[in-house]
Amino acid sequence: MKLDGDFASVDFGEGTIRDGVNVSLVPAQIGNYVLVHAGYAIQIVDDAEARKTLEYWRQILTADPENRASYEQQLIGGLG
């Protein structure tokens, strides 16, 4: 919402706005979602990824059995 050096005002939703959240540990920019832990932003949260996860699972769980395997392939990341 507002950025001043190491500190930012963060909108927590439901009418709560906190000033003085320390954002020095993340490359935050105005408009980013941040994960705040005890007064410090520890990560930027990726909105597009949040949508993607839901979308994949909605697709997988409503897919025909034959399409399902290809959706699952798309989802699986990480280290095998």
Binding site: N22, L35, I42, A50, R51, K52, L54, T62
Partner: protein, 368 residues
């Protein structure tokens, strides 16, 4: 942000169906474990255990920083406050007993103990009171260690030192997965801690144990997806490190936070109250910042491994996920949120406190 989608009841029902299907394929009893108080809260609050098939069990592992803070460290903080130093700490930490008293009891005896929301508050209070010695009792995991590292690097006022009891989660997960008396098949890894360390911090553990792992967020749908992902791995007999919490966890994690931690702390062995001394799970302030370290400034020794819980209390087994709170003879009898006897009933991240707040009086464990 579309977080409301992570509470979608329609998707929850579908995921439940998927979990049931996978559980049937597996057939055998499966124990999964999470290692974070916030996951326990989500699972208990949204009644996720009641949705699971009979052969799938989710247990709470060591994920509560207040619970695993050694009694000797609490004793040390209490003594410092009674010696006339101002001790600053988080609210939950002030109510956990050491071997005899908690910090709030030390305060009742005349010690100067103050509650802060963040380490930055501690810095400001110390700066505003330059004539008094201040000690920040710094507890938590790799989520709270980076902010303290940041403040130490910013040159805090000379009348503030740090009594650190930080613990590093990845070696603890490895220790629990090697535990012979608890056959955990898969781990729901802590999203917030992993957002700092990245998935890479668990690579060693995965390679050594080949246990399934999913890095998970904290909404109810996150937890259900993670359980489905773990069961899919188990059903396919194909253990992996998978990421459900892609919106916040990456392979490398928060590199800036890691750099701050590495500059300020050395990784040493750490004692987890009620658990064990776990190699590489402690944080010690490096010698170049010795003037910020309460122990070196005042010539105090690192706490040694002695678990002191009240007689009959089974906090240690609750912390390890070996038993559930109602199996402890004190749970909701002598030990309640109003009269906590052990740290697991004190902290908002403690399993006993979470179960008590949700009025759970009987075991939620599947018996087969």
């Amino acid at each position: 942000m579309i977080l409301e989608g992570y509470r979608d009841p329609v998707l929850a029902k579908k995921l439940r169906g998927e979990i049931e299907r996978l559980a049937k394929t597996i057939g055998k009893h499966v124990i999964l474990m999470h290692v974070c108080g916030s996951h326990e809260w989500t699972i208990t609050h949204f009644g996720i255990r009641t949705l699971l098939p009979e052969n799938v069990e989710v247990r709470a592992g060591p994920g509560c920083p207040v619970c695993v803070t050694p009694a000797a460290d609490i004793d040390m903080a209490a003594e410092l406050s009674l010696e006339g130093k101002t001790v600053l700490t988080y609210g939950d930490m002030s109510r956990a007993k050491g071997s005899t008293v908690s910090l709030s009891e030390a305060r009742a005896q005349g010690g100067d103990v103050r509650i802060v929301y963040s380490v930055h508050d501690a810095v400001e209070i110390a700066r505003a009171n330059p004539k008094r010695e201040h000690v920040f009792f710094a507890v938590g995991f790799e989520t709270t260690a980076p902010p303290t590292a940041y403040e130490i690097l910013q040159q805090p006022p000379p009348n503030l030192t740090f009594l650190t009891a930080y613990r590093y989660v990845p070696p603890a997960v490895e220790a629990v997965s090697n535990s012979p008396d608890l056959a955990v098949r898969g781990f729901i890894n802590a999203g917030h801690a992993s957002t700092v360390t990245g998935m890479k911090a668990y690579e060693h553990c995965f390679k050594m144990t080949r246990k399934s792992m999913v890095f998970a967020g904290f909404e109810p749908i996150d937890v259900l997806i993670s359980i489905a992902m773990l069961l899919r791995q188990i059903a396919n007999n194909d253990p992996k490190m998978e990421n459900e919490y892609t919106r916040a966890v990456t392979w490398d994690g928060n590199v800036r936070a890691q750099a701050a931690m590495d500059k300020v702390f050395d990784r040493v062995d750490g004692y987890w109250r009620g658990v064990a001394t776990i190699p590489g799970s402690g944080f010690q302030i490096r010698s170049e910042f010795a003037e910020c370290d309460t122990r070196s400034r005042f010539g105090l020794k690192e706490a040694s491994g002695e678990e002191q819980f009240v007689p009959e209390a089974r906090c240690g087994e609750v912390i390890l996920g070996k038993i559930e709170p109602p199996e402890c003879p004190l749970y909701m009898k002598a030990c309640t949120p109003a009269t906590p006897k052990g740290p697991t009933m004190v902290s908002a991240e403690g399993t006993c406190k979470i179960w008590a707040d949700h009025k759970i009086l009987a075991s939620m464990r599947c018996r087969v």
